[in-house]
C-alpha cells in the first residue's frame, strides 16, 4: 500500500489531552502459526470513548480482540498493549478479565452442564476475589442478575440453562451483554456483535451496550458493517487493513465506508 494515501491519526478525535488512557496499543505484531496477522498496530482509547474498528474480512479485527483477551493460539512478537497502565500481554486471560477487560465473542460458545447462573456468579466472584474484594452475597447477586436480565429480555429459564445451550443467535449475543453488564469491565471489546442479529435483536443489544457507556469505561466495537454504528454511535472510527489501522476519523467515516466499501483498501493490497 502507498503510505502517502494513509492519514495516520495523531490520536482519538476530539480527546482532551488530560483524558485518562484506557487502552494503549503500540506497534503490535502478532502471529498464528507462521502467519503474521497484526503488523504493527497502534491504537489508543481514552476512558469514556467508544471506538469502532471496521475493515474487510481477514484484516485482523478478530485477531486483535483475541490477542487482547489472551487466547494462546496467538503469539505476540513485538509491541505493547496496556490497559489502564497495566501490561496486558504479561497477564493470563483471567487476570486480564479481572483487570477490567471484557470480550463479547463473535461466536459465544455453548457450555452444557454449567448453568448460566453458576457461570455468572463464579465469574463475578472470581474477579472480585482477584481484586481483593469480598464475594457478592446471594440476595445481592440474585437481585443484580434479575434486574440486568430483564433489561435484556433474558428469562429466568435461560439463566437456569447451561451457558448458551439452546440459545438462538440473538439470545447468545444478549447473554454476552448480560455478562458484560454484570462484570462491569473498564474496557469492552465487542467482536462483530451484530453478526447474525435481526434488526430487533440488534436494537436490544445496542440498548444494553449504550446503557453501559460511561465516562469511566471505554468500548471497542469491531464490525464489518456500518449498521451497528447507527445504534452504538462511536466517537472514533478506524479502518483496519492488513493488520494495521490505516485510517481514522469521526463517525461519518463509517458512512463513507458503507458507500464506497473496502475496495479501495483491497485494491491497494
Amino acid at each position: 500500500m502507498d503510505p502517502s494515501r494513509v492519514d495516520f491519526p495523531p490520536g482519538p478525535a476530539g480527546a482532551p489531552m488530560d483524558t485518562m488512557t484506557m487502552l494503549d496499543i503500540r506497534n503490535l505484531h502478532a502471529r498464528i502459526d507462521d502467519r503474521e496477522i497484526l503488523k504493527g498496530l497502534d491504537l489508543t482509547l481514552n476512558a469514556g470513548e467508544v471506538h469502532a474498528i471496521m475493515g474487510p474480512n481477514g484484516s485482523g479485527k478478530s485477531t486483535l480482540s483475541y490477542v487482547l483477551a489472551g487466547k494462546d493460539d496467538y503469539e505476540v512478537t513485538e509491541g505493547t498493549a496496556t490497559l489502564d497502565g497495566e501490561d496486558l500481554l504479561e497477564m493470563e486471560p483471567d487476570a486480564r478479565a479481572a483487570a477490567g477487560l471484557f470480550l463479547a465473542f463473535q461466536y459465544p460458545i455453548e457450555i452444557p452442564g454449567v448453568a448460566n447462573m453458576t457461570f455468572l456468579r463464579t465469574a463475578l466472584n472470581a474477579q472480585r476475589k482477584a481484586r481483593g474484594e469480598a464475594e457478592i452475597s446471594t440476595p445481592d447477586f440474585l437481585r443484580l442478575v434479575k434486574e440486568k436480565a430483564s433489561d435484556l429480555g433474558i428469562s429466568q429459564e435461560m439463566l437456569r440453562r447451561g451457558v448458551n445451550v439452546g440459545f438462538s443467535g440473538g439470545e447468545k449475543k444478549r447473554n454476552e451483554i448480560l455478562q458484560m453488564s454484570i462484570l462491569e469491565p473498564k474496557l469492552c471489546i465487542l467482536d462483530e456483535t451484530d453478526s447474525g442479529l435481526d434488526i430487533d435483536a440488534l436494537k436490544i443489544v445496542a440498548q444494553g451496550v449504550n446503557a453501559l457507556r460511561s465516562p469511566k469505561r471505554a468500548m471497542l466495537v469491531i464490525t464489518h458493517y456500518q449498521r451497528l454504528l447507527d445504534h452504538i454511535v462511536p466517537d472514533v472510527v478506524h479502518v483496519m487493513h492488513q493488520g494495521r489501522i490505516v485510517r481514522s476519523g469521526g463517525k461519518e467515516l463509517a458512512l463513507e465506508l458503507e458507500a464506497s466499501g473496502y475496495a479501495a483498501y483491497g485494491d491497494a493490497a
Binding site: 483477551a69 489472551g70 487466547k71 494462546d72 493470563e92 486471560p93 483471567d94 486480564r96 478479565a97 479481572a98 471484557f102 470480550l103 465473542f105 459465544p108 460458545i109 457450555i111 452444557p112 452442564g113 454449567v114 453458576t118 457461570f119 463464579t122 465469574a123 463475578l124 472470581a126 474477579q127 482477584a130 447451561g162 455478562q179 462484570l183
Partner: protein
C-alpha cells in the same frame, strides 16, 4: 501332543485358596449353600486369579493386584464400629445399615427402623436360621468363571439379605455403608442379596470407604432379583483408600416391565473393578446403568459389564464418564448380548473419557453379540482433552484456570449424574465430585 501350560500361583492366590478351604472346614455348611460354597472354592482352587490372557481381565492385572492375601477380618469391636459410624457418608433422608471391616455393625445399624415394606437380616443370621430367601443366592451365576465372585461365594458369611414386599412404595433410600477402619491390611468379603417383589419401588445406596495408605482388599458382591413391574434404583459410591483393592460384582435379574437404574461414582482404591452382569428375563424392561470414574495418580479403575437381553422388547442404556489425571488408567468393557428370541431389543452403550494427565490411559472395549435380526444396538467411545475454546471462554470471564477446569469436568460428568432421579442424592453426589476434583487438583 498337548502341552499343559500352567501359570504359577501367586502367593496371594495360594493363600486365598487355603483360606477358603479353611473357612469351609471350620463351618461345614449343609445343603445347597454348602454345595455352592464348595463348588466356588474348588473353582477358585482350579482356576485361581485371571491372567491378562483371560479376555474379561485383559486390561486389569488382578494377579498383580493380589500378590498378597491380607488376613481375613475378624470380629467388629465397639470402638471400630463407633469410628465407622462417624466416618460413613451421611446421605440425608436415608436409613443406614453399617458394615465395619466387612462385618455387620450391630450397634450402629437399626434394621428394625427400616421403612415399611423392607426387611433385612444379616447374612450370618439368615444362614443360621436357613432363611428361604437364601435359595436365591448364587442363582444368577455368570456364564463364565468369575474369580472375584467365586471367592466371595466360597467365603460367604458376612452380608445382608434384604426383602422388599410386593407393591411397597419405599420413599426412604436404604444406605448400606461399608467402612474400613483397621490400621493394617485385611481382606473383607461381603455379600448382599436383594429380593424386590412385584411392583415394589425402592432405592439403595451402597458406599465403600476406607483410609489411605493401607493395602486392604474389599470384595463385595450384590445380587438383585427385581420382580415384575418393580422399580429399583441403586447408587454405588466407591471411595476406598488409595492403596486398597476394590472388587465388586453386581448381578441383576430383571423380570417383566422392570425399571432398574444403577449409578456408580468411583473415586477411590489403587485398583478397582466393578463387574456387572445384568439379565433381562422378562420383556418390557428398562435398565439404565451409568457411572462416573474420577481417577488420579496411578489409580486403576475398571468397569466391565455384560447385559444379556434374553427376551424381547427390553431397553438398556449405559453411559460411563471417566476423568483421568496423572498416570491413571481407566477401563470400560461393555458387552450387549441379544439372544435369538430377543427381538425389538434396544441397547445403547457409551463410554466417554477426559484425558487430563499426560500419561493417563483409557481402554474401551464395547462388544455386541447379536443373534436376533430386529434390534437396535449401538455403542460409542470418546476420549479427549478439555476443549480449549470452552476453557478460554471461562478464563476470559475471569475464572482462574483450576476453577475453570473443575467447572468443565463437572459439566462433563454431570451428564451422567443427571440420571440419578432423587434430587438430593444427585446434589450429594455432585458435591462429592466437586470436592474430589478440588482435592486432586
Amino acid at each position: 501332543m498337548t502341552t499343559d501350560i500352567r501359570t504359577l500361583r501367586t502367593s496371594g492366590e495360594e493363600a486365598f485358596a487355603q483360606a477358603a478351604e479353611a473357612r469351609l472346614a471350620a463351618e461345614p455348611t449343609q445343603g445347597r449353600i454348602g454345595e455352592l460354597r464348595r463348588a466356588a472354592a474348588s473353582a477358585f482352587a482350579e482356576h485361581g486369579l485371571p491372567t491378562r490372557r483371560v479376555e474379561e481381565w485383559k486390561y486389569t492385572d488382578l494377579r498383580a493386584a493380589v500378590r498378597e492375601a491380607p488376613p481375613l477380618a475378624g470380629e467388629v469391636t465397639a470402638s471400630a464400629e463407633a469410628e465407622a459410624g462417624l466416618r460413613a457418608i451421611a446421605f440425608p433422608g436415608t436409613e443406614r445399615v453399617l458394615f465395619v471391616n466387612g462385618a455387620y455393625g450391630r450397634g450402629a445399624s437399626h434394621l428394625g427402623r427400616l421403612p415399611a415394606g423392607v426387611s433385612a437380616v444379616p447374612l450370618a443370621a439368615a444362614l443360621a436360621s436357613g432363611s428361604p430367601l437364601l435359595d436365591r443366592i448364587g442363582g444368577l451365576a455368570p456364564q463364565r468363571y468369575d474369580a472375584a465372585l467365586a471367592l466371595n461365594t466360597a467365603m460367604l458369611r458376612e452380608g445382608l439379605v434384604i426383602h422388599v414386599s410386593a407393591g411397597a412404595r419405599v420413599e426412604t433410600p436404604i444406605h448400606i455403608a461399608h467402612v474400613f477402619t483397621a490400621d493394617a491390611p485385611l481382606s473383607t468379603f461381603t455379600r448382599m442379596l436383594v429380593v424386590v417383589e412385584e411392583g415394589a419401588q425402592v432405592a439403595f445406596i451402597e458406599s465403600h470407604q476406607g483410609p489411605d495408605g493401607i493395602a486392604y482388599q474389599a470384595n463385595a458382591a450384590t445380587e438383585f432379583y427385581v420382580g415384575d413391574g418393580a422399580h429399583v434404583d441403586l447408587i454405588r459410591v466407591q471411595e476406598e483408600g488409595d492403596r486398597a483393592l476394590h472388587l465388586a460384582t453386581l448381578v441383576v435379574d430383571m423380570g417383566r416391565d422392570v425399571a432398574f437404574h444403577a449409578f456408580q461414582l468411583a473415586t477411590g482404591a489403587a485398583t478397582a473393578r466393578l463387574s456387572l452382569y445384568g439379565r433381562f428375563s422378562g420383556s418390557g424392561s428398562h435398565a439404565g446403568i451409568r457411572g462416573v470414574n474420577l481417577l488420579a495418580a496411578r489409580q486403576h479403575g475398571d468397569v466391565t459389564m455384560v447385559l444379556d437381553h434374553a427376551v424381547p422388547h427390553c431397553e438398556s442404556r449405559e453411559l460411563f464418564k471417566t476423568v483421568l489425571k496423572d498416570e491413571s488408567h481407566g477401563v470400560f468393557q461393555g458387552k450387549i448380548i441379544v439372544r435369538p428370541d430377543a427381538q425389538k431389543t434396544d441397547g445403547r452403550m457409551m463410554s466417554q473419557s477426559l484425558l487430563l494427565g499426560e500419561f493417563a490411559q483409557m481402554d474401551n472395549k464395547p462388544e455386541l453379540e447379536i443373534f436376533a435380526d430386529d434390534v437396535q444396538c449401538g455403542h460409542g467411545a470418546t476420549a479427549g482433552a478439555l476443549d480449549d475454546d470452552l476453557l478460554f471462554y471461562l478464563l476470559s470471564r475471569g475464572i482462574p484456570r483450576p476453577d475453570a477446569e473443575v467447572l468443565l469436568v463437572q459439566a462433563f460428568v454431570g451428564e451422567a449424574v443427571e440420571y440419578v432421579e432423587q434430587e438430593d442424592l444427585r446434589e450429594a453426589l455432585m458435591a462429592r465430585i466437586v470436592e474430589r476434583l478440588g482435592k486432586a487438583g
